[in-house]
């Protein structure tokens, strides 16, 4: 049977990018804040190492996506309204998760549309919101020598990054810039991992079928690990793989996964401090 073609993505067309800024706002998202803070920390470290000041607005909570996609627009609106004041300066906003980035970029405006003033503010915020990997490639032109050993990794691009943010290729681009990293393209690469927020809770049978297939095709590449720039997908895929390991009595993870920021940081010499120490 023929292999499925790769889907194009980039549903919203291309956008223009600002010059390298002095500072950025880092919008960590609730998932990163509470469940994978290391990924957020590594992303911040990478940005700072590139000479960009990172501002972390302390009043950030959540982009409102869970309520919005679950069909609770009022609840989403309340949360979004509480977030519109977080970015007073004219700096870009960097989001380390594709789906949260997509929410801000396309849906904040819709969620508060009944109030024209709020709508305008949401639109202005959307305009300067960038997904982390997209920002590294298109704004910072991230290029650091690869210091790690030769490895083969698989990349999962979230549906939001692919279709909402139109950043299908940036993850690949970043990995391609690492000399010792080979990217293995998995079967049905463009297909959803089956997370979908409350979908995974409401329809566990189908969600499980989807994530099991995703895990199987990622493993089939023979890659030593998976990287992704979306924490929702990452948790879905790695926790499914972990469960399979548990059920099979395996003690070493068969499909470790990392956020792209963590992977990039490790490959390019860790944080600024460790790099300096290495140099000594």
């Amino acid at each position: 049977m023929s292999k499925a073609p790769e889907m194009a993505g980039a549903g919203h067309g291309t956008r223009s990018y600002p010059p390298r800024p002095e500072a950025v706002y880092f919008y960590g998202t609730c998932l990163v804040d509470m469940f994978v803070p290391e990924a957020g920390m590594d992303a911040i470290t990478l940005l700072e190492r590139e000479g960009v000041r990172v501002i972390f607005p302390d009043n950030q909570t959540c982009c409102g996506q869970p309520a919005y996609t679950s069909g609770f627009p009022d609840e989403a609106r309340q949360v979004v309204e509480s977030q519109l004041d977080l970015f007073p300066g004219d700096y870009p906003i960097v989001v380390p998760s594709g789906s949260c980035g997509g929410m801000i970029r396309w849906n904040w405006e819709k969620v508060v549309a009944s109030d024209p003033a709020l709508k305008a503010r949401a639109a202005a915020i959307a305009e300067r919101t960038f997904e982390f990997a997209e920002f590294l490639v298109h704004v910072l032109d991230f290029k650091r020598p690869d210091q790690g050993p030769a490895v083969t990794v698989a990349l999962h691009t979230s549906c939001s990054a692919r279709r909402e943010m139109g950043t299908l290729l940036v993850g690949r681009e970043l990995l391609a810039r690492l000399d010792n990293v080979t990217l293995a393209i998995h079967d049905h690469e463009s297909e959803c991992c089956g997370f979908g927020g409350t979908f995974s809770l409401k329809h566990p049978d189908v969600s499980t079928a989807m994530v099991s297939d995703k895990v199987a095709s990622l493993k089939a590449t023979g890659a030593c690990q998976m990287v992704t720039a979306d924490c929702g997908c990452m948790l879905n895929i790695t926790r499914r793989a972990a469960r399979e390991d548990l059920d099979a009595g395996r003690t070493t993870p068969s499909l470790p996964g990392e956020h792209l920021a963590t992977f990039l940081l490790q490959r390019t010499g860790g944080s600024e401090t460790t790099r300096k120490e290495d140099a000594r």
Partner: protein
């Protein structure tokens, strides 16, 4: 009985209205655990996706054609009542009799009336999803009129006592071995053969006898052209031409949304339809019918009827956002690219139209009481919206319908079944969620507690832990780590 038959055949032949969409979860469970179904749908969808992709090598051309097709459909809808009247006037001038039906019952009554007036014993049918939507076959058979499907896929499905599992390829769930067995069991004088050419020739022989003797031919309509009074049909097999040409009476049935104003608007829609649907540059036949046999004509039906069906479409039309649902040209690309459809097949949905498009049209046809779970059965991955030839924002509409289902039940609902998915508990949980997340102080307190007391996180987390290891908050939040560093 195989697992396949369990998931698909339980309600075999029963009108879809009797299949509860509430049982969606159970059917999904059966479907994903049926390895045969999983393999066959995965293979078929991969095949169709690859064929579609091959039809659009030029991304700019695809983009331009999609935009054009979207604008034609939106334009047509913006003038829908006028265009329907213009269509009616021009069809009438051409000698076609136009009927209007608000409900499936009305549509069936109109068509049964025509059949009885002609003392029809046999109606031979070209492929028509609207006829499936209104349970036409069941209605005719109840009244003692035979209704025989003649599209090969539909014929197979009818022989098996099933419903189509795909709007373009109705028998996509059946293997050739199953079809071979079906033919050998049901068609007199036929021995088992799983040679596809031989099977098609058996179908051809059986159905040709029926085309010759049928009293009435029934068809759907792909596009109805208002300015010329023309009904356009897209097909490969020739059965559509047979049904609309050979019997003395032709009845076409379609939804009220299928009208376009200009004949020139049909060209781009036809092109993007076949390329998106089956990955064909063009279908074998494109049949433009502008009236019954007239003047010196030597063949063609003596009577042509068009039944225009509402069945919930005017409800979708009433809302600017939901109206986009009616842009659909029924290509099926959304289901071909849907990771959920690929895993459960068409029957699990329990609706005439499966897949992503089915989730957004069925609530209008059947009401949210029966269908409110359908819009939740999507990961919102966006593949459907990406391939839709007329750019229907399917994920956005799914979210909207989730909201309509969740809302407080209304005394005078704007949508049938609005609030049917309402749960006091779930609504309360989301209200609390919003309270926490809309107040940064509350969120900080909540997240601090959740991380510090992570050991108390429940290890059974509903659907999540059905197949995954549990989630546990990190020991420290990102905001704590950021503070520490500074």
């Amino acid at each position: 009985m195989s697992a396949q038959a369990n998931t698909t055949g339980k309600d075999a032949g029963q009108p879809i209205a009797f299949v509860s969409a509430q049982a969606l979860r159970a059917r999904m469970h059966d479907a994903v655990n049926d390895p045969h179904l999983r393999t066959s749908f995965r293979g078929a969808m991969d095949f169709l996706m690859a064929k579609r992709a091959a039809q659009f090598p030029d991304a700019d051309e695809l983009d331009s054609l999609r935009s054009l097709s979207e604008s034609i459909r939106q334009y047509s809808l913006s003038k829908l009542p006028d265009l329907l009247e213009q269509l009616e006037a021009n069809l009438t001038r051409n000698g076609v009799q136009v009927h209007w039906a608000e409900t499936p019952e009305e549509a069936n009554a109109i068509m049964l009336g025509i059949a009885q007036r002609h003392q029809a014993k046999l109606i031979v049918k070209g492929k028509s999803m609207v006829s499936e939507e209104i349970e036409f076959n069941h209605a005719m058979e109840t009244a003692g009129v035979g209704a025989l499907e003649s599209d090969m896929g539909e014929y197979i499905v009818q022989l098996a006592g099933e419903k189509p599992s795909h709007i373009i390829m109705p028998a996509i769930h059946q293997t050739k071995q199953q079809i071979a067995k079906l033919f050998a069991e049901h068609i007199p004088g036929v021995d088992y053969t799983d040679n596809v050419d031989a099977l098609i020739q058996i179908g051809r022989r059986v159905l040709r006898e029926k085309f010759e003797v049928a009293d009435i031919g029934l068809s759907g309509v792909n596009f109805a052209v208002a300015e010329t009074g023309t009904l356009c049909l897209v097909e490969n097999e020739g059965n559509g031409r047979m049904c609309t040409t050979v019997p003395k009476v032709h009845i076409a049935i379609t939804g009220i949304e299928k009208v376009v104003e200009k004949l020139e608007h049909v060209a781009p829609l036809f092109s993007i339809l076949t390329r998106s649907a089956t990955g064909q540059a063009v279908s074998t036949y494109f049949n433009m019918i502008s009236g019954p046999r007239r003047g010196e004509d030597k063949d063609g039906p003596e009577e042509v009827h068009l039944v225009l069906l509402d069945n919930g479409r005017s409800q979708a039309y009433a809302d600017e956002q939901l109206r986009k649902t009616l842009q659909c040209i029924r290509c099926g690309a959304c289901m071909n690219h849907c990771p959920v459809y690929t895993r459960i097949g068409g029957h699990a949905y329990g609706t005439t139209y499966p897949g992503p498009i089915g989730k957004i049209v069925s609530p209008h046809m059947m009401g949210l009481e029966q269908t409110h779970l359908l819009p939740t059965a999507s990961s919102l991955c966006g593949a459907c919206g990406e391939v839709c030839p007329v750019k229907i924002p399917i994920p956005e509409l799914l979210i909207r319908l989730r909201g309509e289902a969740n809302s407080e039940p209304h005394a005078k609902p704007a949508m049938r079944g609005q609030g049917a998915g309402h749960s006091t508990l779930v609504s309360f949980v989301w209200r609390m969620w919003a309270r926490v997340h809309a107040r940064p102080g509350s969120y900080r307190a909540f997240s601090w507690l959740a991380t510090r007391f992570r050991a108390f996180t429940p290890t059974r987390q509903g659907g999540w832990t059905a197949a995954r290891t549990p989630l546990q908050p990190a020991p420290r939040r990102l905001r704590d780590m950021v503070k520490d560093r500074r």
